[in-house]
Symmetry: C2
Amino acid sequence: MTETAPSRLLGLATALVAIPSVSHQETLLADAVESALRLCPWLQVERIGDNLVARTGLGRSQRVVVAGHLDTVPPAGGNEEPRLEGDVLYGVGAADMKGGLATFLHVAGTVPEPAVDVTWCFYVCEEVERRHNGLRHLWAEHPGLLEGDAAILGEPTGGRVEAGCQGTLRVRIELVGARAHTARPFTGRNAIHRLGPLLGAVAAYEGRRPVLDGCEYAEQLQAVAVEGGVAANVVPDRAVVTVNHRFAPDRDPGAADAALHRLLDPLLEPGDAWEVIDASAGAPPALAHPVLASLVEATGEAPRAKVGWTDVATFWEHGVPAANFGPADPLLAHTPGEHVSAGELASAAEVLTALLTAPR
Amino acid sequence: MTETAPSRLLGLATALVAIPSVSHQETLLADAVESALRLCPWLQVERIGDNLVARTGLGRSQRVVVAGHLDTVPPAGGNEEPRLEGDVLYGVGAADMKGGLATFLHVAGTVPEPAVDVTWCFYVCEEVERRHNGLRHLWAEHPGLLEGDAAILGEPTGGRVEAGCQGTLRVRIELVGARAHTARPFTGRNAIHRLGPLLGAVAAYEGRRPVLDGCEYAEQLQAVAVEGGVAANVVPDRAVVTVNHRFAPDRDPGAADAALHRLLDPLLEPGDAWEVIDASAGAPPALAHPVLASLVEATGEAPRAKVGWTDVATFWEHGVPAANFGPADPLLAHTPGEHVSAGELASAAEVLTALLTAPR
């Protein structure tokens, strides 16, 4: 790294934060990124909608895909505009993940002859419903563009590797009862009261903590919605709770659903309903892969598990081992005070440069 | 009673069921009832909106008010039209309370010289929000019309006295938490999970059963609505439950609210909210009043407590002791299969006639 890299990176990240790119409105940012990529004669750039893919074609024996999303969540707490405090950049997307985008653009533009071929991918709509996800569309319609031996997904990870990702399952559980007048409840059965033990079991849930490739995945179970009631003087005959289960990548959604059934079935009765409304498989850490092992080594830090779901699972679904890696604290994502520092940007760029230039 | 009274009463009740009178649409029925009342030269009839008040003016030392509502809940399960099976009348309102209205009209028209002065009152909108209630409007705007020493309210009671009524209190309890990502719930606090113990306490509630004037009032507590949730992957920071408490008439709403606080406050935390959204006092049985004591005696059955709220409380609020009395099983009210038999109608008419004609 040159001495000026940290401040150049911070300027680039600031410029990216200054271009609004809330999900579904990424065109301006895609234009800017496309312009930057087209300044690099060693990259073949393809634009599909507002998704961008830029590839080296050096005939290397391995190809690494480096992908990041262009979109941000909506601004919150007055963080629309970038704001610098010393060498720290604040603003929507600073952590998730325009700091990462700046790092990628910097490395793409400063490493014309990497030791592996590189595919840079910038895509839309990661922060919204999965059906809009640009990476998913690219895999569905242009799978050749994303082929590679391994992938790096630029989510904020604090500059270390967050390996694989957990799966996610949402189940809607409907409990039944029998209506009655609230002055004579003994003639019916209160379905909302039946929620008590069910929520108790969910709250008392102790998830497995399997260790895969040295990373501990902590499973979770949370009620995310509850609803019930007929009228102000009626014992309700129906109550619905939706739970979200985060499960380690040693299980597929079917096994995770079966585990949930084992936990909650003792509290269910004939007539109750159990509907899986959303299920996404996770991805194993795959840290034995040489590229990902090198990435871990380049960070100089022990990897940890990614407990949330990320597009690492999308790569894994298509047979490409992937890991999460990017600057900024992941806990800041989607918070009004999200930020990234010049030092974090520089470290991430250094790691990525080392990975892509190390002889293989 | 003449031998033909049961079949005449059944015919009258059938005619009343045949005139639809869902709340807010009582005009046709009020027209019919007004015509019948005006056939009785011993009654002074007043119509205020679709409410009717018909009074004797015999200068008796006591005046008894007999009141019943004209409206029904909406039809259900195909019970719009009256249907006779032998001497049993089915149809919306058959039990609640066109059977009672038929009884009242029959006695009003066949007892020209009662031993007490009588005020017959037929009013609108008992089955909907209290602000529409015709009896309440009459008390507010024409209190002189409803003055009396005691009142009989024609709810279905199975032909016995259901004494007084319980009060009702609705409280909206909001539990707070702290938002977090469901993959890292330990950084927040799940407000829906906090519902578990609260619903447990509500479900385990054992109400008092005070005995007043020989009637046991069974207090109840039921959750009637529950709501919460932010997004599919967010630990929710807010959950709301609404409870309905039915309390015996030896307590006022303030004391009932205090008792609820004693039960649930141990589960609440700073930041939670407690809002009384509806409170109606009950009414004590007042069976020591000579008119109500005579009514009990005339039924030949032990009185029991009215556990739901009724307009008996509206009379009591204005200083008039009142009791619920009418034909038909109270548990049939608002059910698609509600019905009343000729025998029930005849018995109720007999009791009322005896009460109003007994020398005082």
